[in-house]
């Protein structure tokens, strides 16, 4: 039976209990939704005592299914004001599962302004420890300090100075498997601020001396099915650009067709996109001793992570991804891949979402505070976030806050959250997802890009977005969505695996129902939090301005968006 830890930050207590029966066969995003709707008032102050911060492992955590050790972090979002599940790789979820933990719920806020670490030792003891000595420390230094104190057989989940300052675009950083770098992020929705409001600097989880053994209904059958799916992922990985190169390969697919955002979603093409593309990346890796094909969590056969070194061959950053590169790059007119890598490192270190932050930089450029392409100026502004200057604090609150401060008319946000690196005029299914996802403008909620290349029209795009949003909501409860893409032909096996693990139905409908229920619960939460249909819209300029690359506007009418979830 899975357990949960309840951390009361007011009483400063830690309690381990069996997880409630109704949550046993849930995980990830699904568990976040069902737990929050029952335990957190949707209209609460996101940084107040009624909100809770959740860390959830997946439905299949701790098993042999590849990539099943994702970490879902949840709560009411300080950025969107709605429900938030932010999904990350890294080492922590595997260790939580090895301790038998499916859920860590952090509630209330401390009486005193003090910082704490939740430490889970190798013998399974969990306690809060004074973390005042780490106040103001950013993630890289923090991880070094923790390793020096407790050794390196552990994973960390931490906030930097941004989370401590309650910046609404702050992230929670998770250490990577093997390297230990805090470069994996539950980045979206400002959950770092929620962690900061709880006075929780970090969770430090050690590898258990004795691994938790889950009692499967039929372990042999489960392992047989998991092996089938693992083989499919491994086979798919052979021709997957994310494995062979990294997610940066997406630049090559979006650069020529107007999907890659350029200079604050201007709709133009960026002639120099290859300067920040796969070829340049691979050349730099090879010549500087960098690495790709790295796993961010144990047991991953897709291995899309990387380690990117500077010109002198010294470590600069890892988990260097398409979204970060596209948004700090072409969307800010910047072509210097090394400068972008430095921005990525700085964001991971202070703990902010690269998507919201890069869009905030684009706001500065759109309004003339910085010149397009000014990488040095962008880096200086990022440092202001760490220093906590007046403008740095506004930057820390993300794209919309900066856009409003600078009177920018074109602010690419939905539900106050900045868009990822896909222009919704040229991948309309993704635009529908941006508009209607309970998470705000989130590409991982249902990226319709793969289908946009053979666009069958608006209705098809709405259909694809709907299907993908359901699929992503159960995928985010089970495994990494990159691996998930390779098991699509065998999705009914996921139902059989649930039956073999937890008992009960082995039908695929058990899985799809989980997806639909998750989405509807999230939308229900948002409605009770005060969101209306008007929050399910793209910013007006996407409806008005044509993409220069294609001549396309976002022409999905309101009615289509409103009926999307009428199942």
């Amino acid at each position: 039976m899975w357990s949960k830890l309840t951390i009361d930050m007011e009483a400063l207590t830690v309690q381990k209990q069996p997880l409630e029966e109704e949550f046993q066969d849930l995980g990830g995003r699904g568990l976040v939704a069902q737990y929050l709707i029952k335990n957190v008032p949707p209209n609460c102050d996101p940084l107040g005592k009624e909100n809770q911060l959740l860390f959830c492992t997946s439905v299949f955590a701790g098993t042999r299914l590849t990539t099943s050790n994702r970490l879902s972090v949840g709560g009411k979002s300080p950025l969107t004001g709605g429900i938030k599940e932010s999904n990350s790789g890294g080492f922590a979820a595997a260790l939580f599962a090895d301790h038998g933990l499916k859920l860590i719920a952090v509630k209330n806020i401390p009486r005193e302004d003090k910082l704490w670490i939740l430490r889970i030792t190798s013998d399974g003891e969990a306690s809060l420890q004074d973390a005042e000595e780490y106040r103001g420390m950013n993630n890289y230094d923090f991880v070094d300090a923790i390793k020096e104190r407790f050794g390196d057989k552990l994973a960390t989940v931490s906030i930097g100075s941004a989370g401590e300052r309650r910046y609404r675009a702050s992230s929670i950083q998770i250490s990577e498997f093997n390297s230990g770098h805090p470069s994996r992020a539950a980045a979206r929705g400002g959950l770092g601020a929620l962690m900061g409001s709880k006075g929780l600097k970090a969770i430090v989880v050690e590898k258990p001396m004795e691994k938790f053994k889950f009692e499967f209904k039929d372990e042999e059958k489960f392992n047989e099915l998991a092996l089938k799916l693992n083989k499919m992922v491994a086979e798919g990985a052979k021709t997957d650009p994310f494995h062979n190169i990294g997610t940066i390969a997406t630049i090559e697919a979006t650069g020529e067709n107007g999907i890659l955002p350029v200079k604050n979603f201007s709709g133009k093409l960026f002639q120099d996109y290859k300067e920040v593309g796969a070829k340049k990346f691979m050349t730099n890796l090879a010549s500087r001793g960098g690495k790709n094909k790295m796993a961010c969590q144990p047991g991953c056969v897709l291995q899309c992570s990387n380690c990117y070194n500077d010109k002198d061959g010294n470590y600069l950053t890892s988990g260097f991804e398409y979204e970060t590169i596209a948004l700090f790059g072409p969307n800010c007119g910047i072509t210097d891949l090394d400068a972008i890598a430095s921005m990525d490192r700085l964001c991971d270190d202070i703990g902010v979402d690269t998507i919201d932050t890069a869009n905030a930089i684009a706001m500065c450029m759109e309004t003339g505070k910085l010149q397009w392409g000014d990488a040095e100026g962008a880096l200086e502004l990022l440092k202001e976030m760490a220093d906590g200057t007046g403008f740095g604090q506004i930057m820390g609150n993300g794209c919309e806050a900066v856009g409003n401060e600078l009177n920018c008319e074109r602010i690419p946000v939905v539900k106050h959250q900045a868009m990822a690196a896909y222009d919704p005029r040229n991948t309309k299914g993704t635009g529908i997802t941006y508009a209607t996802s309970p998470m705000g403008a989130d590409h991982t909620a249902g990226l319709a890009m793969g289908r946009a290349f053979d666009d069958r029209g608006r209705a098809a795009q709405a259909y694809v977005s709907n299907k993908l949003q359901v699929a992503m909501s159960f995928a985010d409860s089970m495994m990494c969505i990159f691996a998930f893409a390779h098991v699509v032909p065998a999705l009914p096996l996921l139902g059989e695996m649930m039956g073999a693990m937890y008992g009960g139905s082995s039908e695929y409908s058990r899985v799809t129902t989980m997806g639909v229920k998750t989405l509807l619960t999230e939308r229900g939460f948002n409605k009770m939090a005060g969101m209306t249909e008007k929050d399910d819209r793209l910013p007006e300029f996407f409806y008005r301005e044509r993409s220069e690359a294609t001549g396309s506007k976002f022409d999905i009418d309101d009615y289509e968006l409103e009926v999307l979830f009428e199942f």
Partner: protein, 65 residues
């Protein structure tokens, strides 16, 4: 013989990388990334002439990063 992923394609003098890809049943359009002998090629470079023992890896992008 040219190899495109797991498939062998007969080498014909003068054929391009794109020709070999098409012969192996791949599209050269959006959504594919091509590596030739370990090097990532841009779309324009697919018109480069292939060599007799070229190893081509065509990869289909199925989700964003």
């Amino acid at each position: 013989m040219i190899r495109v992923n797991e498939k062998e394609v007969e080498f014909i003098r003068g054929m391009t990388i794109a020709d070999a890809m098409i012969k192996a049943g791949w599209s050269t359009g959006d959504g594919t990334i091509v590596m030739v002998d370990g090097e990532v090629l841009s779309k324009e470079e697919l018109s480069r002439e292939a060599e007799s023992d070229t190893e081509i890896r065509v990869m289909l992008l199925i989700s964003g990063g």
